[in-house]
Amino acid sequence: MIQNLWSLGLVVVVAAITFLLGYVGSRRANTTPDFLVARRAIPATRNAAAISGEYLSAASFLGVAGLVLKDGIDALWYPIGFTAGYLALMLFVAAPLRRSGAYTLPDFAEARLGSTNLRRFCTFFVICIGVLYLVPQLQSAGLTLNTITGLPAWLGGVVVTVIVVVNVLGGGMRAITLVQAFQYWGKLFAIAAPTFVLFAVFLAGPGNGAQEVDDAGVLRFHKEVSVTTTEQVRVRVEVPMELKAVGQVNGGHANGEVYWGTGTYTVGKGTELWFEKGSPVPVVEDAPTDNAHWLKPQTGGLGGLFETYSLIFATFLGTMGLPHVLVRFYTNPDGKAARRTALHVLYLLGLFYIFPTVLGVISRQYLPHLLVTGQTDAAVLLLPSTMQPNVLGQVLGAIVAAGAFAAFLSTSSGLVVSVAGVVSTDILPGKVRDFRWATVLTGAVAIGLALVLPRSDASLTVAMSFALAASTFCPLLVLGIWWRGLTWMGAIAGLVVGGGLVIGSQVVTVVSSYTGDWAPSVFSMPALITVPVAFLTMVAISKLTSRQRPDDVSRILLRFHAPDPLGFMRDRDVQRFGTAEEKARLADGTRRDPPQPWS
């Protein structure tokens, strides 16, 4: 109970600081450019902190440690991919994209290829990716609040949605930049402090609650444990065992002592299981059941190899297509600053990802019961109080909870701003009022989906939106920036084929998860196939329709690539957005000193 108060207190503090910083930022934000691009006057280091703060989502903060706990070393490809994606973004996209002066991806597509049809397709996929990314954030918020306070899971998602929407309504991009820069450092502290303390405790010896591993490498419970499932899970048993179960097992009723031989068991929702001390740990399906497989890379055979490469394709190439990441780059003053910002982000991300990995490894020793329920995303939240059942553990647990909350808030803010930006300019007329309506609409749709869709690991769901981004916007951006031959018909064909394949395989995955998991892993990890197919389609159709090549392609590429001092860069959106008065104010602004950069 005391832990709950600590955690709840810190979560409230994070929410309050978010509001406060948002308020401070929003007092100065009153023009449309303020709202949408924070007046493009943010220094590179702060912008990098804001980008990292926005990027480190629930998938990074909770999901990475959870997957390391469950899948072992092969899960390390998630943090690697999340970081290396920025390298690809920096090398191929950052500076030219910033110089294109477009605010959203549809803006870029239209400026490059001059087609409003293409623009509509881009809008559709931006909304798809944004919402697909938003759903796991809100669901994880529910899980966090549920884990630390026992409040119902839907409440966490609703709370996060309300805070984000109110904050974005208040000040748009300008307000959330400061909020997100703060939240990066908040998150880094929230994950680094517990890691240092717990790692020291861990090194000091297998103290209280360390789990036993026998000579065969089989996981065993170190004490009597009772586990209650929150949803239906399929678990694998390698070593026969006896346990007590109350609820649904394999479709039938169970009430009392049962014997489980080797095999898989389906445990229904709300079933309570009691394990004896020293009993082997049943592990959720598809995860390694003993420590030898957990420790060694690539033990999953060819299928595992395929999954790893698919993940590499999705994350390495998907980052550049994420709308909430791209929109941040438009707040840089020029192309060179965009490149420097991306470099700084690489450093900040590398710094962060060491910690969840360490926490995941330690939690394997202390939290085996999470392997039964499959709720491994909660590992980071539960580890401090499990390892240190005293005030220290409570304080650390509270810090972690607050950090997780900051992760949901910042990522969701960024996503809501970018999706609302696209909705307000492409579907609505594009004034500040429309942006506000779009914000409310985006928040409502996302929370609705988060409540309806079944919950799975945050990192897996997020990997799906990376796959979608890698199969749609990555080819569009890379070919659009570096290849003269791209045509709008080729671009549309690539988007439709790549995006269609990913969405189709996602549908197959969801259907198969309801009807007995028959789909092979090609469908849950499609990027290895869909990304090359999207690239090839785009190139082939562009070659076939080479007459549609825009006449001014040389001029456009000149704008993308000419160094900043030559002054070819044009900020397109400032003129596109806004009412007549705002435009007048902008024009007026050119006749006096530029406004003080907001710092």
Partner: protein, 146 residues
């Protein structure tokens, strides 16, 4: 900040009309102008080359094509190299399972290779690219600014 305003029509930039064909009429009128008051380099001469670039004379076209090729080559070398190096790891682990048992300072080698190494590697590649790209751009500006 070097962005100050000046009276319209200052010959520091090409005429707005040609370059901003994609803007609306109102936007073209209100466009913000960048005027550099004290620049050591002769802006007049730069202007001529900029117009050359703008109008896609064969010289301008060649200049910008070369720059794009240079930047793309640097990006491919550094990015491709780093990403290929990382992407080879799973295959190596798959083909040589014995690597999983090698220990280095008490930690298994694959954990070091995957948990620590990629982050400085990515930063290093990014840093090298920033240096290269900026020097390419610097060279380009000085070749324009003859």
């Amino acid at each position: 900040m070097s962005k100050h305003s000046g009276p319209p029509g200052q010959p520091d930039q090409p005429q707005p009309g040609e370059r901003d064909a994609w803007l609306s009429v109102a936007a073209r009128k209100n466009r913000r102008r960048r005027v550099v008051l004290a620049d050591p380099r002769g802006r007049g001469r730069v202007l001529r080359t900029i117009i050359e670039l703008e109008e896609q004379t064969s010289v301008g076209e060649k200049l910008i094509r070369d720059l794009i090729r240079q930047q793309l080559r640097a990006a491919f070398l550094l990015g491709g190299g780093t990403l290929t190096l990382l992407a080879l790891l799973p295959l190596v682990f798959y083909l040589v399972p014995a690597l999983g048992d090698v220990e280095l300072a008490g930690v298994r080698l694959p954990w070091l290779l995957l948990g620590v190494l990629p982050f400085p590697l990515c930063y290093g590649a990014g840093y090298a690219y920033r240096r290269l790209a900026e020097s390419h751009e610097h060279d380009f500006v000085s070749s324009v600014d003859r």
